[in-house]
Amino acid sequence: MADRRSPDDEAALSARLKQLGERIHEAGAKRRHEAEELREEETRRQDEPTNLAIALRLSSEFVAGVLLGGLIGWLIDHFAGTSPWGLIVFLLLGFGAGTLNTMRAAGLVAQQGTAEKKD
């Protein structure tokens, strides 16, 4: 009789069913994982600006610090008559600030005010 299955057949069928179910599950997990990776890569690529943009960003940060230091130093000298000491001191300070800006922009130093407290 065709519709009367032996217990052996029944067991083999359920085992096969289980195996298939596992394979579907695995494939689904893999695909989900791949999609997630793809999305992550996509966001990373979007966040990563072109090399030119990075170069302009870092250089402008550095130049801004030095320019501001030079300007403040020159103004102090101009009005207080302390030439050349104001320019020397503030140019050096500006150099430090520019370096700090650049390192912050490059993500090497924590942002201003967000430094972890040492306990």
Partner: protein, 248 residues
């Protein structure tokens, strides 16, 4: 043929004189008015007939809102949302001005440092005023990093203060320099095409290279135009974050 000529400011209508200074509508001011008009008009036109399933224009406006709101929440936290109007205004204003500049023959407003410095100063003063109003003198903790030995603290504080005051400079110079440099490069390469094209058949073949470069540069400049508006807005958010939460 002069690559700088495109940045010339020309008077269109003289309004009058205030204290010896001439007040006039220039091509720069005209394009700013146009940008404001396009932004407000576009927003109103896209949202006047709101539907649950957005049409094309409404989808653009909603995406822009979501984009900027996400940027503010991510960089300045939920408390930063009170500055959403400022950030959205800056982003849309700069983006539209940059995109105007990409249309041949139109004026690049953001290639003038006086415009970008003013925008950066608005942000800087907002940060300083809100920082002191919201936190009082605790705002000054921004300049005192924790865990620094006392004997180098004065130097570090001086450098931190300088770093803080150099922000509006780098903030404005970045936008201005990118747009200026991009437009000059485009003009120079496009000028090569015309120069070589005037030489006859051999020149036409030679002109193919700068022509291809001009096309590629135009695509790059479109990217830069968007990217710089985005960078300006996200830096605004980062700076505002300092005013909202100085020294966690």
């Amino acid at each position: 043929m002069d690559p700088i000529h495109q940045f010339n400011i020309s008077k269109i209508y003289i309004l009058g004189h205030i204290g010896g200074y001439e007040i006039s509508i220039t091509n720069s001011a005209l394009f700013m008015f146009a940008a404001v008009f396009v932004i407000i008009g576009g927003m109103l036109a896209a949202t006047v007939r709101q539907s649950l399933v957005p049409g094309r224009a409404q989808a653009v406006v909603e995406t822009t809102y979501e984009f900027v709101a996400g940027m503010v929440r991510q960089s300045a936290g939920e408390a930063g949302m009170k500055f959403f109007p400022l950030v959205f205004t800056l982003f849309s204003f700069i983006l539209v001005l940059n995109m105007f500049a990409m249309i041949p023959g139109l004026f690049a407003v953001t290639s003038h440092i006086v415009v970008t410095v003013f925008l950066a100063l608005v942000v800087f003063l907002t940060v300083v005023i809100y920082g002191f109003w919201h936190n009082g003198l605790r705002f000054l903790k921004l300049f005192v990093p924790s865990g620094v030995p006392v004997y180098i603290l004065p130097l570090i504080v001086a450098i931190e203060i300088m770093s803080f005051f150099s922000r509006p400079i780098s903030h404005s110079v970045r936008l201005f320099a990118n747009i200026l440099a991009g437009h000059i490069t485009l003009k120079v390469f496009a000028g090569f095409v015309v120069l070589l094209g005037g030489l006859g058949i051999a020149g036409w073949i030679g002109a193919l290279l700068p022509l291809a470069l001009t096309v590629a540069l135009t695509a790059l400049e479109l990217l830069v135009a968007f990217l710089q508006a985005y960078v300006f807005a996200i830096l605004t958010c980062i700076y505002l974050n300092d005013a909202i939460h100085p020294g966690h």
